[in-house]
């Protein structure tokens, strides 16, 4: 049973920023810490640093002989609240309690070079320790990220009307202020089947397998290493058809890697370089069984029936938010409505984090100086000059120099000329660009998305952008 079914909610996976959890079964997904590492969101990168700091502190404690303190730190029970895992029996797996202490201690004892090097990514544990697999990496990450996930869940529950229950017990979250594990009570949605609290997990940190994983390592760098060293794992199959498919034994991989830490470094450096290819899972894949359906016509109908005017400004803003989620997740993620500036004096309608590693959105991030993308939403028949001026003032160092206005109708030539003059009057490079999208543009993008035809929504925006730049030359 899905969360949407349990609570009678009608959103689908394509519209929301989080993975819709199942209450009766784990989803075969994992939190991949590498996606935190490569994120453009400072908060997520900070979480990766924190995650790593726990392990590197543990390694330091091990070297100093403070085993009891290390044991206290390395304590990762299964995070059932996220509902991820590869077990088929339900939402309970094995977890990582005392077992990981021993594993980590054994691993460190067997490799002095690992002690001095520390960890660059916690996923490396899969390659040097036989007891750590992909789902355990996910559990480790979930334990450390619990506070973030709690706050994220509360925010998303508010946005999408997911009912929360007051003061549900949450075991074992890490308090970085006191630097220790704690238990607490938080307002969270509740699993109607097992009564446990639910954490929603952002799509942008989820993959089917971690980017750094044992199977990949065994098939690439480790295999090449064996071939060049003439090692047993390779040579016993060498020259036979089996060589292509032979999977080396995990114990052998761990032992070899512990003894050759440079091999680990080489593999991890390569994976870091290839990070643009490390993408979050597209959760609308049918085999995951998450609720998806074509929504273009439904959205277009809603656009058509929503009256123009201030009285319906909020409804229009909300509808545009849902449409943008549908069109651009997961390239644009973590959309926020009504974002106030630090001083609270100004308010932006919708802001997304631009996590794209390809296409037009990557170009925008690299060329317009910000990982954020702003959309101003105007439920008016005709745009006025003052809206353009207002949006132009929002553009700058924090939000970057490219912003969007979404409005009901194609703007007049007068308004378009005003956007050109904003561009021309910007004294610095890149110049400010305001792209105006109308309901008609959105309808085209929606229909193309559902039909899976070119131009895709991103290509549509790219085309509008090019038209702007060409005309303004």
């Amino acid at each position: 049973m899905l969360l949407t079914e349990a609570f009678g909610l009608n959103f689908t996976q394509s519209e929301v920023d989080f993975v819709i959890p199942r209450f009766d079964q784990d989803l075969p997904l994992c939190i991949d810490p590498f996606l935190l590492y490569k994120s453009r969101d400072e908060i997520l990168r900070g979480l990766h640093t924190q995650l790593l700091s726990i392990f590197n502190d543990s390694i330091r404690l091990f070297r100093e002989g403070k085993r009891a303190e290390m044991d206290k730190l390395i304590d990762f029970p299964e995070a059932n609240e996220i509902g991820f895992g590869y077990s088929e029996k339900g939402v309970h797996g094995s977890g990582l309690g005392d077992y990981l202490n021993r594993l980590l201690a054994d691993t460190l004892a067997a490799s002095e070079s690992l002690q001095s090097r520390g960890l660059r990514h916690i996923e490396e544990l899969q390659l040097v320790s036989i007891g750590v697999a992909a789902d355990r990496i996910s559990d480790v990450a979930a334990n450390v990220l619990k506070m973030f996930l709690i706050q994220y869940t509360q925010k998303q529950a508010g946005l999408w009307g997911i009912p929360m229950q007051a003061a549900l017990p949450v075991n074992h979250y890490f308090d970085f202020d006191d630097y220790e594990w704690k238990d607490g009570y938080f307002d969270l949605p509740r699993n109607t089947i097992n009564g446990m609290p639910i954490f929603l997990v952002p799509r942008r940190m989820v993959r089917l397998l971690p980017w750094i994983n044992l199977e990949d390592y065994a098939a690439t760098d480790y295999r090449l290493f064996l071939r060049s060293a003439g090692g047993r794992g390779w040579s016993k199959f060498s020259g036979t058809r089996q060589a292509k498919y032979a999977v080396p034994d995990k114990t052998e991989i761990s032992n070899t890697t512990r003894a050759n830490i440079s091999l680990l470094d080489q593999y991890v450096s390569r994976k870091e370089k290839e990070s643009p290819r490390a993408l979050p899972v597209y959760v609308d894949r049918e085999d995951l069984g998450l609720p998806t359906k074509p929504l273009a016509e439904e959205f277009i109908e809603r656009l058509g029936s929503l009256p123009v005017g201030i009285a319906h400004a909020k409804d229009y803003q909300r509808l545009i938010y849902e449409i943008l989620n549908y069109l651009f997740e997961p390239e644009l993620t973590d959309g926020e409505l009504e974002v106030r500036t630090f001083e609270g004096t100004e308010r932006r309608d919708i802001i997304y984090t631009n996590e794209s590693d390809a296409s037009f959105w990557q170009y925008v991030r690299l060329n317009y100086g910000s990982p954020l993308v702003m959309f101003e939403v105007k439920n008016v028949k005709d745009l006025e000059i003052e809206y353009i001026n207002q949006t132009a003032t929002y553009l700058g160092a924090r939000l970057g120099m490219l912003g969007f206005i979404v409005t009901r109708q194609t703007p007049s030539e007068n308004i378009i000329r005003k956007t050109y003059s904003v561009f021309s009057d910007t004294p610095s490079i890149p110049r400010k660009i305001i792209i105006i999208l109308s309901d008609e543009d959105l309808s085209t993008m929606l229909r193309n998305r559902d039909a899976g035809q070119s131009p895709t929504p991103t290509q549509c925006i790219q085309r509008i952008y090019r038209e702007f730049r060409t005309r303004v030359q």
Partner: protein, 119 residues
């Protein structure tokens, strides 16, 4: 009268110098792009090459701006916006730029000859 002639001479000289620079840069780029187009027409151009091409387009458009040339007016810089153009498109545009420069020369050649004695 002499002062007027001096100004005309200076303007013609500047224009001719700029023309010579641009025809040389355009020819060089066109030759390279043409080679690459023959080899891999649908391959996309690099950022550095595109910057050079865009600079040539921008400069040629500035030079011919006061002349009435519809075909040159229609040529615009490439805006990659995430997807670089293919060699064959770049070569096509550079050939149009070359042709535009040739038309520019035809229009101004008489002035250059009179003012500078160029043949």
């Amino acid at each position: 009268m002499a002062a007027q002639r001096r100004i005309e001479h200076d303007n013609a000289e500047k224009q001719k110098l700029r023309y010579d620079q641009l025809i040389s840069a355009t020819e060089a780029l066109y030759t390279e792009m043409d080679k690459l187009t023959r080899k891999a027409p649908s391959m996309t151009i690099s950022k550095l090459s595109l910057d050079r091409v865009n600079k040539v387009i921008r400069s040629v458009k500035e030079l011919v701006a006061q002349d009435k040339d519809d075909f040159m007016d229609e040529i615009t810089e490439f805006i990659p916006a995430g997807d670089m153009p293919e060699y064959r498109d770049v070569t096509l545009v550079l050939s149009q730029v070359k042709a535009g420069l040739a038309r520019f020369k035809d229009r101004h050649h008489a002035t250059w000859r009179n003012s500078l004695g160029v043949f």
